[in-house]
């Protein structure tokens, strides 16, 4: 009897173990987004879907989203009627020239995946303003969109400067540029903004910011050569002191070589196409 009861007990115990918590419920967290960010798509949304999301998987955020931006800056959202002209310009002067030179999959594979548009500039504490920022080759934030006009070539170039700069970062982070590039100029410094453009040019840096590191130097070269075109770039080189001019030419040669070897792109042809695009906007 004693043993019989004990067996029953054990049996019960076994049954308990196997049944008690047997239902493996999935961890039940929220199924609903706490912060839904949806709205009825309008004409702009549809245009972006057709021209950026579907072909390139690029998201363009134009409705103000505080989470994408610095919280300590006063910013104004973008004017709705500026979105399409700006993105048309970007497609026409950045995507199209690359596509014709490097094939249709090139941009799809390498482009940053998100553009965030902001209407006003971002005002910094030191009296400067920020026109564009980029994060890790994924997201590009463009400011001052509300002043955008296709006819203002200077401003179009300024905006493209940011895009070409960041895209060039993605390129060299995917395939590294030749090491000798790092040794052409000397005097890279983190406090690049303490030195004038003249000083930068005299050391073979195409912009002040190019002084900050070889990587920045490389992408600034690409960006300036593309947005200013051959004529504009030559003018910059010729404005530099004579002893610095060969440095620019060495860098130019390495950039051209890099585009050929790494991406099979004829850089001069890309440069011409970019210029034609800017001028025929």
């Amino acid at each position: 009897m004693k043993k019989y009861l004990l067996n029953i007990g054990l049996l019960l115990l076994a049954a308990t173990f196997t049944t008690s918590c047997s239902d493996e419920e999935e961890v039940d967290i929220s199924h609903i987004d706490f912060t839904p960010d949806s709205w009825t798509p309008g004409a702009v949304d549809n245009w972006l879907l057709q021209n950026f999301v579907m072909p390139y998987n690029i998201e363009v955020k134009y409705r103000f989203d505080r989470n994408e931006l610095a919280l300590d800056r006063v910013l104004a959202p973008v004017r709705e009627d500026k979105v399409i002209p700006v993105m048309e310009t970007i497609k026409y002067t950045w995507i199209d020239p690359y596509e014709t030179e490097a094939g249709s999959s090139f941009i799809k594979r390498l482009s940053p995946k998100q553009f965030v548009l902001v209407g006003s500039a971002s005002y910094n504490n030191n009296g400067t303003i920020t026109l564009g920022t980029a994060e890790g080759g994924r997201k590009i934030v463009l400011f001052v969109i509300n002043n955008f006009a296709k006819t203002e070539k200077g401003e179009v170039r300024q905006m493209l400067h940011t895009i070409h700069h960041e895209f060039a970062h993605i390129l060299h982070q995917t395939i590294m540029y030749p090491q000798p590039y790092r040794n052409i100029s000397t005097g890279y410094t983190a406090s690049w903004n303490d030195y004038s453009l003249e000083e930068a040019l005299s050391r073979g840096f195409v912009t002040q910011y190019a002084r900050s590191s070889p990587d920045e130097d490389f992408v600034e070269m690409i960006s300036i050569m593309l947005i200013e075109g051959k004529v504009g770039f030559d003018a910059i080189v010729n404005s530099a002191p004579a002893e610095a001019q060969p440095l620019f030419r060495q860098k130019e040669q390495l950039v051209v070589q890099y585009f050929k070897d790494a991406w099979n792109i004829d850089f001069y042809s890309l440069q011409t196409k970019t210029q034609t695009a800017i001028n025929t906007l």
Partner: protein
């Protein structure tokens, strides 16, 4: 035996106790309640066929009116009295989203964003800050016909009131008309604007650009100022905070009309007839103000354009002078032949354009009259005056040396005006 049996029961009880439980808590889940709240707010916003009247009080001051018609497709039609062109309807976007609290976001540029624009050229706000306004708001208080919103970043306040058909047709138009009426204030060429209600009189400072009104009054013998934001209404203006002194309480100016013949405004205050007129002198002079201003000394006061004369700012065209930056007023600048003197220094940009230089200035010894005026006797100039500056400097010197002297009107902690006691038609605005 019995023990074992009980032990088994205990085990069984213990191990089966974790029963299946549907949901973390009774009732709806938090996110379901949140999205229900958002839907309810949106339903309320779009439920008003004639839209919503709204008044926005940016944290930076002023009051601005809007007329919103929210639509189902997350678009909003608006007009505003923010500037003359804002009476034309503009369609932009809005959306409801949970931030820290359920929020209403105006997420593409509209009239409302002019106040938040960090570009100082847009509406004259501060660089990188605008008018310290908001375009993302939390729902603070909601009744069927009134929605009170609080700005998420700056803490501005906006009140939405359900509009009637009549509002939809005339709200902004009526307000624009009264803003137009008040713009006749520029026809006053004297400094002092006197509000008379029966036997009560106050000096007013009406800052139409920033929509801030200041009352100057006395408590016993102590001079006081009271400033508050105002918004235009059809026929007048509404103060954000009521002004109360000398047994008068003022919440609004109504039925305001400009009388061109008399160059004055007729209006009603709480039903009583009143006028606003220009005046050559203050209602009552604060006899200590000028002396206190001088004795405080220390840091200089800045005047970006020198004297305003007959309502014309920068009457001596100082801003056109090469490299001119601003005038600095130094009280008790130095001592000359045992006389303490004040300096009107001309601050110029240096050659590199990155610093200010005090190149030259006008020195004058002040005396104080018993009726509260400060009178300057010019001692001469210091430093070298460039030839191209000479005409403007002489004109400034002659104005400053007016033998009738000046009243010192302290309009706030950081602003003051030196107003000609001769006729009140010339004054030097100062700030620090």
């Amino acid at each position: 035996m019995k023990k074992i049996f009980l032990l088994c029961l205990l085990f069984t009880a213990a191990l089966t106790a974790c029963q299946k439980d549907e949901g973390p808590a009774p009732g709806e889940r938090p996110e379901e309640r949140l999205s229900a709240a958002l839907s309810a707010y949106k339903a309320q916003l779009i439920s008003s066929p004639f839209g919503w009247k709204a008044t926005l009080y940016p944290e930076g001051g002023g009051g601005y009116n809007f007329m919103f018609t929210f639509k189902e497709d997350d678009r909003v039609l608006m007009t505003s009295d923010i500037n003359a062109s804002a009476a034309t309807p503009m369609e932009t976007t809005y959306r409801l989203k949970t931030m820290q609290r359920p929020s209403l976001l105006f997420d593409t540029y509209s009239y409302l964003h002019i106040l938040s624009d960090p570009d100082p050229d847009v509406i004259g706000g501060d660089v990188g800050a605008g008018k310290y306004s908001d375009f993302e708001f939390s729902f603070t208080e909601v009744t069927p016909d009134v929605i009170t919103l609080t700005g998420n970043i700056m803490g501005s306040r906006m009140v939405l009131t359900r509009a009637t058909q009549a509002d939809a047709e005339s709200f902004i138009a009526g307000i624009t008309a009264s803003a137009q009426t008040f713009s006749n204030l520029s026809r006053f060429t004297s400094y002092f604007r006197r509000l008379t209600i029966g036997t009560n009189t106050f000096d007013l400072n009406l800052d139409l650009n920033n929509r801030i009104i200041t009352f100057m009054y006395f408590e016993g013998d102590v001079a006081r100022t009271f400033s508050t934001s105002f918004s235009y209404t059809a026929g007048g203006m509404l103060l954000q905070e009521p002004f109360a002194a000398a047994g008068v309480s003022i919440l609004s100016f109504d039925a305001v009309q400009y009388n061109a013949a008399g160059n004055l405004f007729n209006l009603t205050v709480g039903g009583a007839a009143a006028t606003i007129q220009e005046a050559a002198r203050p209602v009552r002079v604060d006899v200590q103000a000028a002396r206190n201003f001088h004795n405080a000394g220390s840091d200089y006061w800045a005047s970006p354009g020198g004297f305003t004369i007959n309502g014309v700012p920068d009457a001596h065209n100082l801003r056109a002078l090469p490299n001119f930056f601003q005038i600095g007023y130094w009280a008790k600048y130095d001592v000359f032949q045992n006389r303490e003197y004040d300096l009107l220094g001309f601050l110029l940009l240096n050659a590199a354009g990155n610093a200010l230089e005090l190149t030259y200035g006008i020195a004058a010894a002040p005396t104080f009259t018993s009726d509260g005026r400060i009178v300057y006797s010019v001692l001469g100039t210091l430093g070298t005056i460039p030839e191209s500056h000479r005409v403007a400097v002489t004109a400034t010197l002659q104005q400053w040396a007016d033998t009738q002297g000046y009243y010192l009107i302290r309009t706030s902690e950081t602003t003051a005006d030196l107003v000609s006691a001769r006729d009140g038609k010339a004054w030097l605005p100062l700030f620090r």
